[in-house]
Amino acid sequence: MGFLLRRLALLVPVLLVVSFLTFMLMTMLPGGPEVNFLGPQAVQDLSICDDPELDLNTRTACEDTIKIREELNLDDPLLVRYFTWLGNAVQGDFGDSVITGVPVSQTISERLPTSIALMLYAQAIALLIAIPVGIISAYRANGVVDKSTTGLSFALIALPSFVLALVLLFIFGKKLGWFPTRYDIDAAFRDKAKAMFLPALTLGLGLAAVYQRLLRTDLVATLHEDFIFMAKAKGIPARRILFRHALRPSMFSLITVVGIQVGALIGGAIVVEQIFLVPGLGLVITEGILRREFQIVQASVLVITFVYVMVNFVVDILYGFLDPRVRHARSAR
């Protein structure tokens, strides 16, 4: 329990640092929030406003800019603004979009489920492929299945996701017409699940290649352990040795990377979201940065980082379940 609490306490600084860095980065970007309100008239460099011989237009623009900056508290010190934002954020208030006026929390709660669904879908596809293939290729190491999957994995890993997405879109979406080529958020659940298959497959195939390699290498190593020889000597059938004895201690790398990918895929699936028009968090961030909607970017990054650190935390706990030695080492501390 002490271990868990210590581990949990470590998450707070990460969240603080990442959110502060995002905040700072967003403030440093040229064309601040005032541009969103006033458009190109916003005065970027307020020092020109001190000039007494300004023409009327510039004078008004100056006054407007100063007023907006005051309203948004843009002249407060960075730290003050950050903590104000953080104080609101922990209460679920991320501010309103400066362009549409929609609360940012609403946008995120609309988009996050789509991102999570896509992530789970992709992970399911990846694991469904990787675990059986990994087991077969480790058990018959150097066999036909092993050799051919090695080549296939290499090819899949070298395939950039935007190329793989286009290939799948071309074959299954356009030529064969089996799947819709774009995602419709208002469609029925069945149609949405179908529309999400190609995006999930794009992500899942790439992941499957990696997962398969990880599991295979760990499993090959485990199969050389003494306790496996012992089990064989006792005459335990191969299937039972594989699934009951070898699989569990071989899952460490796999679990770790699956966990990392949970965080990476939420908000990191931008390319796939773009190609298949899936309205996920990745697109929100991209649009947010391009339109200078800082509130959205900050909020999304905070949410993603939170998911990322929480999943890694859960993975850490899972280690204990996978390997009793980890559990003992922890309780000994």
Binding site: V17, T150, F154, P160, V167, F252, V257, V309
Partner: protein, 322 residues
């Protein structure tokens, strides 16, 4: 520590996990995986002493790409920006790889796209190796506060969503070739730092390093003469895979419409990612426009990964000697 499995018949040449993961996942993932595995490579791995036909094929492709990047404009090809044919022509003897929507020759465009990809890939990774590699090397050797500080810095860089960082730098600095290089360089520092540190740490604890220390060699001498030469080959293999990752990242930025706008004073330079983006709009009528540059990208990345993987296995003296 001798690995009892090294000479077992089952553990033939298996690529190192960490390399696979590096090439496949987001940049920030790699270092974590390498951390999990340590730099020692998975225990099932062993070494095949021959580099094999595939390795030389990969090298040949990379040499060809380098040649095209350097001397492409001097080859007797159509001007990549001239409208030399009809729109969306397929493969023919006049235009070997067909033409794009505007009737520009795809072969010469793909050839001139090589340059951007290679410059970005090599420059960003070279910078990453110089900064991340140096810090990682010292961190693994010296340990103590320097290691803790640099690792913490790396952790922060890694936990920061790469996309946000990339987009922020790009919108802050503009989209000249060197801005993109800078972006990808910053993103590559942390993973390289972690992997180099893991390697350096491992070698710094070996007996011959301790022997050197006992003999009274200075730290800088030990680092240069004992640790660095051993870390160099794994780093070379990492560099090749790193170049592949950066090339894909550049292509992805270009595909998202955030690619390079100016290079060496030239507006709108040709890049593979941008060509794929242009072609993706005509996927139904002329799929080759997208798939020709995509294939060039794929083969280059494949060759880099493959060569990197083989080099890692080949020069892993520790595994082969035990």
């Amino acid at each position: 520590m001798p690995d009892p499995r090294a000479d077992s018949p089952l553990s033939e040449s298996l690529p190192d996990n960490s390399l696979y993961v590096e090439s496949a996942l987001e940049i920030r993932t790699d270092a974590i995986v390498a951390e999990v595995h340590g730099a020692s490579g998975a225990p099932g791995d062993a070494v095949k002493r021959r580099l094999g036909f595939g390795f030389w094929l990969a090298i040949a492709w990379l040499v060809l790409m380098t040649f095209l990047a350097a001397f492409g404009p001097m080859l007797p090809l159509d001007d990549p920006t001239d409208l030399v044919g009809k729109s969306k022509e397929s493969f023919s003897s006049d235009h070997w790889l067909g033409t794009d929507k505007l009737g520009r020759d795809l072969l010469s465009r793909t050839v001139s796209g090589t340059r951007i990809s290679l410059i970005v890939g090599i420059a960003a990774v070279a910078g990453g190796l110089l900064v991340g590699g140096t810090i990682g090397l010292i961190a693994g050797f010296r340990r103590g506060w320097f290691e803790r500080t640099s690792m913490a810095g790396g952790d922060i860089l890694l936990s920061f969503p790469a996309v946000v960082l990339a987009l922020a730098i790009v919108s802050f600095r503009g989209r000249d070739l060197w801005d993109i290089v800078l972006t990808l360089f910053i993103l590559s520092v942390a993973p390289i730092l972690r992997l180099t540190r893991a390697n350096s740490l491992q070698w710094s604890q070996r007996e011959f390093v301790q022997a050197s220390r006992v003999l009274g060699a200075k730290d800088s001498t030990i680092l240069r003469r004992e640790v660095l030469p051993n870390v160099l080959m794994p780093m070379a293999s990492l560099a090749l895979v790193g170049v592949a990752i950066v090339i894909v990242a550049e292509g992805t930025l270009a595909f998202l419409g955030l690619g390079i706008q100016t290079a060496f004073g030239v507006d709108d330079p040709i890049s593979w990612g941008k060509m794929v983006l242009e072609g993706s709009k005509d996927l139904e009528t002329a799929p080759h426009i997208a798939f020709v540059p995509a294939t060039a990208l794929f083969l280059t990345v494949l060759a880099l990964n493959f060569a990197g993987d083989k080099i890692r296995g080949h020069f892993d003296v520790r595994e082969s000697s035990l």
